[in-house]
């Protein structure tokens, strides 16, 4: 398990978290390289279907990073993200998919340090959980 | 302002699911499953849920069409029918009644098929009538009539949950008969064990206790070994064999040579697994066998069917609930089309045309002279064109240009006719070749009965008016018959036709529209008006008296792989499409699921040819070639490829072999030799 390098997808919103990621990069902060960032206009753009697709395609963990509540560029986009995320996490749990594989967090454009910490923490968590074998398990069972 | 739900029967497979056509102000707007229906119990498959979609499709034929200088032009009914009546009479007089042939339809109602065969026999004067049952279960009818005396599914669908072990071979039940699959899944949950024997890893394999993958065309070999093991283990039902059957010693001698080792060599089934499966089936109190085209579509189709019947009798699994030999029929009315005489050798109710008593009975009933020799079958009719014996063909609701083996030959034959009439709901590939095309009403636009795979005769009601100028098939045929001066075609309703059918066909003797109702109908035989119908056949006694064991030797398929054509090609259907696709490819949801055909091949074979998944390849056989996308999958055996036959642009039947089973005349659609090649860029 120790040499497992997870494949992580992060959806970052254009206005806050993507800027935080940028800043973390410019600041040359130490952070794991497992994360691939997809830039979206708002965390509210991230339909749960995106997360499902990622998990079905074998991504080991999915991060959704938006502006802090109250700071959303579109006023309430992230409110919806939060509610959706909470209920979606529950659903994953009911179906036996560990909800720790997905995480919602906030980072403002200035929070480069926080951003790097979220990435590091989440990568550690996913390393502990091991590879996502949901789709694989199914294929084996039906093959 | 009017909304109603009209009870009908799903127009797709032979399950016989009850549907409710949703009609708002005379317009068909949807389908709901019948909740208290004995087969589908409130559920449907994707085809059933969408079975209303094609009815209103813009491609529906709405007016009669006649070909003039190679182009179809719309004509009046009067013009079209007068032309047909005159032309048929002329051919009949010129080259004799047997130069005409009719293809009936497993999509038409029982009443319509009755009229079609009556028209063929009494008006055209020939027994040259057949339909697509020839291509699916001709060997079942021939085989089971020989073994048991009746060619139909012995037991009813709901009985599957009572079986202890079910042997499923050559039936992709979940995909082809989804609502029977539903009963099987329920049986599985209740503890029934499944043995699945199939060359492809079909969805049912996941639920199999034992799965045996084998080489297509080796059915008799493994079945004989299976029986040999049962006898060696002393698991045969001695009481049943003694009291109910004949020919056991001959069977025992015949299967004795088929050791598990030999079966492994021929079929590729590991002997340990075959022994395990045989013991499991042999030990079951209630063992049921389900099969379909994997068994029937071979030059040894009748042999295969009779081997299955041997196995059922050997283990005493006939004539009780939850047992039996259960061929699943593919069309919603293929059972019915056979029952009411859409076959060249029998009158309605499987009464042989060659029997003088039957001939007399029908001559009296219909008031005409009849022919006492059996007519030609589907493939023989087309071959008859080459030989100059057949000059005119009337095709109703069939599409041989896609469904028959060796399509290139079919096309040639159909183009060489003096008269080709096609009566259909869409301009099919076959209709394109016709001299006259007649627009028929769809199932939703007429009343009539359909007989499901388990002999369940059910009434389907009229929901909407026929689209355009289209007319119900029975009305069209009656009109032509009257124009040809015939008597006995003055019907005013389907119900009246059923009354006549019941009067001449003992198995349908007790059926009337009123009795059939709209909730599950009745299962034949139903000989009189007080009879409640028959759930399972051969109780206490076989239809023919004693059941006959048939000693059968293994024969190789007609075409074996060689250096030139090294692969075995098998064909079949998909969950999301149906036969020649005329209905499903016009249904958006279904067309969206699977857009075109593909050839399944094993990764080993693909690697040898450097073919990758999704690549367009050329598949050829001795009869033709097609271009098709490769689907590389481990669900198929190395050395075997599979192509669904729904798709005209990459039609599997360009490749298939028209070699016939000598007994039932079914073509060997399940095995031929083929080659896959890379297409040079």
């Amino acid at each position: 398990m120790t040499d497992f390098e997870p494949n992580i997808l992060a959806f970052c919103c254009n206005w806050c978290s993507y800027a935080a990621a940028d800043l973390a990069g410019i600041g040359r902060m130490k952070q794991p390289t497992n994360v691939k960032i997809v830039r979206v206009m708002c965390s509210g753009r991230v339909k749960p279907e995106f997360v499902i697709k990622a998990l079905a395609d074998g991504v080991d963990g999915v991060l959704i990073l938006g502006c802090h509540i109250g700071d959303c560029h579109y006023v309430s986009g992230n409110h919806r993200t939060k509610k959706r995320f909470e209920i979606f996490s529950k659903l994953l749990g009911h179906m036996g998919i560990d909800p720790r594989r997905i995480r919602l967090d906030w980072a403002s454009a200035a929070e480069a340090i926080e951003f790097a910490k979220i990435i590091t923490d989440f990568t550690e968590t996913i390393k502990e959980l091991g590879p996502n074998n949901y789709a694989g398990k199914h294929e084996r069972a039906t093959a | 302002m009017k909304y109603e739900s009209v009870p009908s029967i799903c127009p797709y497979c032979g399950c016989g699911c009850g549907i409710l056509l949703q009609v708002l102000d005379g317009e068909l707007v949807g389908v709901l499953p019948q909740k208290n229906h004995p087969i589908n119990r409130g559920a449907l498959c994707i085809k059933g849920w969408n079975s209303w979609q094609f009815v209103n499709n813009k491609d529906r034929l709405t007016t009669p069409l006649m070909k003039e200088n190679g182009e179809f032009k719309p004509v009046s009914w009067d013009e079209a029918l007068t032309f047909i009546a005159e032309k048929l009479s002329k051919i009949k007089q010129g080259s004799g009644p047997d130069s005409l042939a009719v293809l009936a339809s497993a999509k038409c109602t029982n009443e319509e098929n009755y009229i079609i065969q009556k028209f063929t026999r009494a008006v055209l004067g020939t027994n040259n009538i057949d339909h697509c049952a020839r291509l699916c279960h001709a060997s079942t009818v021939t085989g089971l009539v020989g073994s048991f005396g009746s060619g139909a599914m012995t037991n009813s669908v709901p009985e599957f949950v009572e079986s202890d072990v079910i042997l499923i071979t050559g039936s992709n039940t979940i995909e082809q008969h989804p609502l029977i699959g539903s009963w099987l899944l329920e049986a599985k949950e209740k503890g029934t064990k499944f043995i699945v024997v199939d060359p492809r890893e079909i969805p049912m394999v996941k639920f199999a206790d034992i799965y045996l993958q084998f080489k297509p065309g080796t059915d008799v070999a493994w079945l004989n070994a299976f029986m040999n093991i049962i006898i060696q283990e002393g698991l045969e039902d001695k009481k049943f064999i003694g009291e109910r059957t004949e020919g056991y010693e001959e069977l025992k001698n015949a299967v004795g040579n088929y050791t598990p080792e030999l079966a492994e060599k021929i079929s590729g089934i590991p002997k340990e697994k075959l022994i395990e499966a045989a013991k499991m089936f042999g030990s079951a109190d209630k063992g049921s066998i389900i099969y379909s085209m994997g068994i029937t579509q071979h030059i040894t189709g009748t042999d295969n069917v009779q081997s299955v019947a041997n196995l059922a009798m050997l283990t005493g699994n006939v004539g009780r609930r939850g047992t039996g030999v259960n061929p699943l029929r593919g069309q919603n009315n293929v059972q019915g089309a056979c029952d009411v005489g859409g076959l060249p050798n029998v009158y309605p109710g499987y009464q042989a045309v060659t029997d003088p008593n039957n001939k007399k009975k029908f001559e009296d009933a219909w008031g005409v002279q009849l022919d006492d020799k059996a007519g030609l079958t589907v493939v023989e009719i087309l071959n008859g064109v080459d030989e100059g014996k057949i000059n005119g063909i009337f095709i109703i609701g069939e599409n041989p240009m896609l469904s028959d083996p060796d399509i290139n030959h079919v096309k040639e034959a159909l183009q060489n006719l003096d008269l080709l009439v096609v009566q259909d709901i869409f301009m099919s590939e076959t209709a394109e070749l016709a001299d006259v095309v007649l627009p028929a009403a769809s199932y939703a636009e007429k009343e009539g009965t359909f007989t499901g795979t388990d002999r369940r005769v059910q009434k389907s009601s009229k929901a909407i008016e026929p689209v355009g100028e289209s007319r119900a098939d029975w009305e069209i045929i009656c009109d032509i018959a009257r124009r040809m001066g015939a008597k006995g075609f003055e019907f005013e309703s389907s119900s009246q036709i059923m009354d006549e059918l019941a009067s001449v066909s003992p198995i349908y003797g007790g059926l009337t529209f009123e009795r059939l109702g709209s909730n599950g109908g009745l299962l034949w035989p139903c000989p009189d008006k007080t009879h409640e119908g028959t759930e399972f056949l051969h109780s206490g006694k076989f239809t023919k008296g004693k059941g006959s064991f048939m000693p059968i030797e293994f024969i190789e398929p007609n075409e074996l792989p060689d250096d030139e054509y090294p692969l075995i090609l098998s064909t079949g259907r998909l969950m999301f499409h149906y036969h020649t696709g005329t209905m499903t490819r016009r249904t958006p949801v279904l067309a969206n699921e699977v857009k075109t055909g593909f050839v399944e091949m094993h990764p080993d074979d693909a690697e040898k040819l450097s073919i990758s998944d999704g690549e367009m390849v050329k598949v050829s056989s001795r009869r033709g070639e097609i271009e098709i996308a490769a689907q590389v999958t481990e669900k198929i055996r190395p050395g075997v490829i599979f192509i669904p036959f729904h798709f005209a642009e990459c039609a599997a039947n360009v490749l298939t072999n028209p070699a016939l089973d000598p007994k039932s005349k079914i073509p060997e659609l399940k095995v031929c030799s083929a080659r896959v090649e890379k297409i040079p860029v």
Partner: protein
């Protein structure tokens, strides 16, 4: 009960409270949704087995928005109509409800928590069922066991879309489940866990526990168990009770401040 039902409907017609009534008709042994008008013989009207009648009402109302329609409903049908009204699929102002209380047997059959409508015209109210053994069983499982359980269930799926078609509150014109992007087309069983996870997520704020999906499932998958688990979370987390108040907005479309 059928006699009583016919009497109540006769009364509605007599007092001109409605122009038509949507109920069930027994026709040659087959029970099916049907629309009766004033002149019709009501002797064929029955109340069982239940059908997703909300779908029918919505369809009729879209064509005849101004007609007063009587609808014979059970508890679940009322919840359906409320959810449909929230999404502009029916107009409750032009609907007169005739309420039937389910029998104890019906309630047990559905494990229904609220087997009766707000206003009962026919039948006696029976207590709802609040325990569900299957949920308890799954709650005790660890993540892997749960995954295996559902994988076993969804492996039976025949992709008939019956759960979608039969669902009275599934109202999208184009279903995302048909899109190859999210669920690979043409595969059997459908892509796992995508198909059923997406469908379950979409049911979170609209599943009224009517059991139509499960009844329509040829593979006998316990869909209601899953949807019910997530419904309970919606109730606990957002205090939102599906199908009770037509003015209450679904929680997934509101902002955080509006809550509570």
């Amino acid at each position: 009960m059928n006699e009583q039902l016919r009497e109540v409907v006769k009364g509605l017609f007599a007092r001109d409270e409605v122009e038509v009534v949507v109920s069930l008709k027994l026709n040659e042994g087959c029970v099916a949704p049907h629309m009766y008008s004033k002149e019709d013989d009501l002797s064929s009207m029955v109340h069982s087995p239940k059908y997703p009648i909300g779908i029918v009402v919505s369809m009729i109302q879209k064509k005849y928005p101004d007609t007063k329609i009587g609808v014979v409903i059970r508890g679940c049908d009322e919840r359906i109509l409320i959810e449909l009204a929230k999404r502009n699929q029916v107009n409750l102002d032009n609907i007169v409800l005739v309420g039937i209380a389910c029998t104890e047997e019906d309630a047990k059959d559905c494990l229904c928590e609220t087997p009766f409508p707000t206003k009962i015209d026919i039948g006696e109210k029976v207590e709802g069922i609040t325990t569900d053994e299957n949920i308890e069983k799954i709650s005790q499982m660890d993540m892997d066991e749960r995954f295996d359980y559902w994988m076993g269930q969804f492996d039976k799926c025949m992709k008939c879309y019956g759960c979608v078609y039969a669902c009275p509150t599934c109202i999208c014109e184009n279903c995302i489940l048909e899109e190859d992007m999210w669920v690979k087309t043409g595969e059997l069983p459908p892509e796992f866990p995508s198909f059923h996870l997406i469908r379950a997520y979409h049911s979170t704020d609209r599943c009224v526990d009517c059991h139509e999906c499960e009844r329509a499932c040829p593979a006998h998958i316990p869909l209601v168990t899953l949807y019910r688990m997530i419904r309970k979370d919606v109730e606990d987390m957002f205090g939102y009770k599906i199908g009770t108040d037509v003015n209450e907005k679904p929680p997934l479309v509101t902002v955080l401040e509006e809550e509570g």
